[in-house]
């Protein structure tokens, strides 16, 4: 088929569909009552009124002439304002956001008085939305996603520092070019979950950091680190991080 003939065929097809659609309401009208039509209130300030699909809640976007497009930021504000109003009318209703990955949350209860300005791009951060039906006000309940993100970054950096030292004989203070990863690639064969246990090489009950120190002194031939040395703590962190999910089993040989 030539391009032209395809176009003709498409046009004909569309026309046919259109005709069918145009006919459909009349067909349906013979079988069911007419669909409800929302009554959108008139704009009072020369802007555009946007209505929620409940047919009741509406908001006027000032300065938006009919036919004009909103910016994305404006649209976000508009929807937020609509939800605030709706929530005010339905204080006991629960609802969930349909987007994947979003936790269910409600829009924060707006302050009394006129609704917040619809300044473009105004997004409130740093305030944890308080889920309904949960305990509130205490320290742990006030942790936000931002907090978790910061803390995870800190922890991962600490573990990464441990990994760096683990793989570097000079950082360990070793004198013979031996680093931990030679016998323990990826931290294997360290079994931190088995401490405390009687460590045969030390002939005493040891914690993980005692054994790290012993290994630094013996196979690595460095000076044992003070228990509070940040390097030792970082090494311990790296080793523990490699065994996430392994059940604790103190005393296991």
């Amino acid at each position: 088929m030539t391009r032209r003939s395809i176009a003709l065929a498409t046009a004909a097809g569309c026309a046919a569909i259109f005709a069918a659609v145009a006919h459909a309401p009349r067909l349906r009208a013979q079988q069911a009552p007419p669909l409800p039509v929302h009554q959108v209130p008139d704009a009072k300030n020369g802007g555009t009124v946007v209505m929620l699909c409940d047919g009741k809640t509406s908001v006027e976007v000032k300065g938006l002439k009919p036919g004009e497009s909103m910016t994305h930021a404006q649209a976000v504000e508009v929807t937020r304002e609509l939800m605030v109003q709706w929530q005010r009318e339905h204080p006991d209703e629960k609802w969930q956001m349909a987007q994947a990955g979003q936790s269910s949350q409600t829009v924060p209860a707006p302050p009394a008085g006129p609704s917040a300005s619809l300044a473009a791009g105004a997004i409130v951060i740093g305030v944890k939305p308080q889920p309904k039906g949960t305990q509130q006000g205490d320290t742990y309940a006030s942790f936000t996603d931002r907090d978790y993100k910061v803390w995870k970054n800190e922890t991962d950096n600490f573990v990464a520092e441990g990994k760096r030292i683990f793989h570097d004989s000079k950082e360990l203070g070793g004198t013979i070019g031996v680093s931990c990863d030679m016998c323990h690639p990826d931290g294997s064969n360290t079994h931190p979950e088995t401490y405390p246990k009687y460590q045969v090489q030390l002939q005493r009950v040891a914690l993980l950091r005692d054994m790290i120190d012993w290994c630094i002194e013996n196979p690595v031939k460095g000076k044992a680190l003070d228990p509070n040395d940040p390097k030792l703590r970082a090494l311990e962190a790296y080793i523990l991080a490699q065994r996430k999910g392994v059940p604790l089993a103190y005393g296991k040989h």
């Binding site: 203070g173 004198t175 013979i176 009687y198 045969v200 090489q201 030390l202 002939q203 005493r204 009950v205 002194e217 013996n218 031939k221 460095g222 000076k223 044992a224």
Partner: protein, 434 residues
């Protein structure tokens, strides 16, 4: 010493808890032979309960009988050698000879281990060929270069000939004299020779002034750079300074024959060398003695391996190692410091240590602090002798090897790295550890 005279002395038997049928010399075994109290600092009560066998419980009468037998030279073929001949109480229950002298002035190949705290040994003898104190008795009694009895029946006959013994055995065991019961009685006596209560035990117990600063530094080195603790392990449950295992630390390799002998032995692995008496003869009487634990297990990794000995009361149980070849504690430390004596079967834990002279002195001070109070005077005298000798006479010292300045292989020139830096570990006891 002769049977007739000892019968007269049985007057004492009825009255004293401790009976002396055949006194050593004319004085009797002396107070150092007495059973020791369990009320000593550092005494491991739990462990002691575990090691008393249920079929040979301790009773005063049995202990008294055992003591009598221990000092009785009837157990030897010529009537001149009793157990205390090689295990004399005044000499830390050893004979302070390099290797022991037995019947007809024959010398064996092994140094006499102490009876002190022998109750806690998992196995007896340097090569662990005896599983219990009871079984150990038979070894010397029937060994041709020790007490020389042709058989245990001969020993039983000697003891049975004494009516007092017959009565004692019936009282204690409810039957006639048997060798097994002789073993049980002697073992029961040996189980009373407990030696703790040393300055170190008091230090661990909380008295920080009980040992010198030098000894404290020695204890830290013992745990750290010296690597001693890994084999001479100490903990409050088992405070014996031994892991009860067998290691080749290279002492046998002083003998040039050792390696060819070992290779020959490996080739004939599993052939001959069967029963206990056979092994006993090989261990004590022949040049195969240097093969150590291998004679017992026939395992290749046991060639030249000997039991880690306890470190208590070393200053009254000199000389040292299975062949008694080292005269002072400094000599033993020099041996370890240079990485032992190279041989193909050397335990991989033996490495050059790089200890300084001061560190060695501190270690000896620490070892001296393991002396039980009843030996304090004798130990002090021995320490002075050894100290003086150590200032001028150090046949084992090899500083270049200890510091890694030269390799072990002739022809492989050093210097080599590998000796760790001086430790900065605090005294583990002060850190609140055990």
């Amino acid at each position: 010493m002769k049977p007739a005279r000892t019968l007269l002395l049985s007057l004492f038997a009825a009255t004293a808890v401790v009976a002396s049928f055949s006194p050593v010399g004319a004085q009797g075994p002396g107070p150092l032979a007495d059973p020791r109290s369990e009320n000593q600092a550092g005494f491991p009560a739990d462990l002691y309960a575990w090691v008393i066998p249920p079929d040979n419980p301790q009773t005063p009468a049995k202990i008294a009988l055992g003591k009598a037998l221990f000092f009785d030279d009837r157990l030897s073929a010529d009537g001149k050698i009793s157990c205390d001949h090689c295990h004399a109480p005044a000499k830390g229950f050893t004979d302070q000879l390099p290797t022991s002298m037995g019947i007809h002035a024959q010398f064996g190949q092994r140094n006499a281990p102490t009876i002190l705290n022998a109750v806690f040994n998992v196995t007896q003898f340097w090569d662990g060929r005896s599983p219990t104190l009871e079984a150990q008795v038979q070894g010397p009694v029937t060994n041709p270069v020790e007490m020389g009895m042709k058989s245990t029946e001969d020993a039983v006959a000697q003891i049975k000939a004494v009516p007092e013994y017959q009565k004692q055995f019936r009282d204690v065991f409810g039957r006639d004299v048997t060798f097994a019961d002789i073993e049980r009685a002697i073992a029961a006596y040996e189980r009373t020779q407990l030696a703790f209560d040393s300055p170190f035990d008091k230090f661990i117990g909380g008295d920080s002034n009980a040992i010198s600063d030098s000894a404290k530094r020695g204890w830290a080195t013992f745990n750290g750079k010296g690597r001693c603790m890994s084999c001479h392990g100490w903990n409050p449950t088992q405070p014996l300074f031994t892991d009860q295992k067998f290691h080749n630390i290279g002492v046998s390799a002083h003998n040039a024959n050792f390696v060819p002998l070992a290779r020959k032995a490996l080739d004939t692995l599993g052939q001959s060398g069967g029963g206990e008496q056979e092994i006993d003869k090989l261990a004590i009487g022949t040049d195969m003695s240097g093969l150590g634990r291998f004679l017992v297990t026939k395992q290749p990794h046991d060639i030249g391996a000997f039991r880690t000995m306890s470190l208590r009361n070393l200053l009254v149980t000199q000389p040292y190692f299975h062949d008694g070849s080292q005269v002072t504690l400094w000599d033993t430390l020099d041996h370890y410091n240079k990485g032992g004596v190279q041989n193909p079967y050397l335990d991989g834990g033996i490495v050059p240590l790089g200890l300084s002279e001061e560190e060695e002195d501190d270690l000896v001070a620490f070892l001296a602090s393991l002396t039980s109070p009843e030996y304090e005077q004798a130990a002090r005298e021995e320490y002075d002798l050894q100290f003086k000798r150590s200032r001028t006479n150090r046949p084992q010292r090899d500083t270049a090897a200890a510091n890694g300045d030269k390799g072990h292989e002739p022809g492989l020139a050093g210097p080599f790295g590998d000796i760790g830096p001086a430790q900065n570990q605090e005294n583990p006891a002060l850190l609140g550890g055990d």
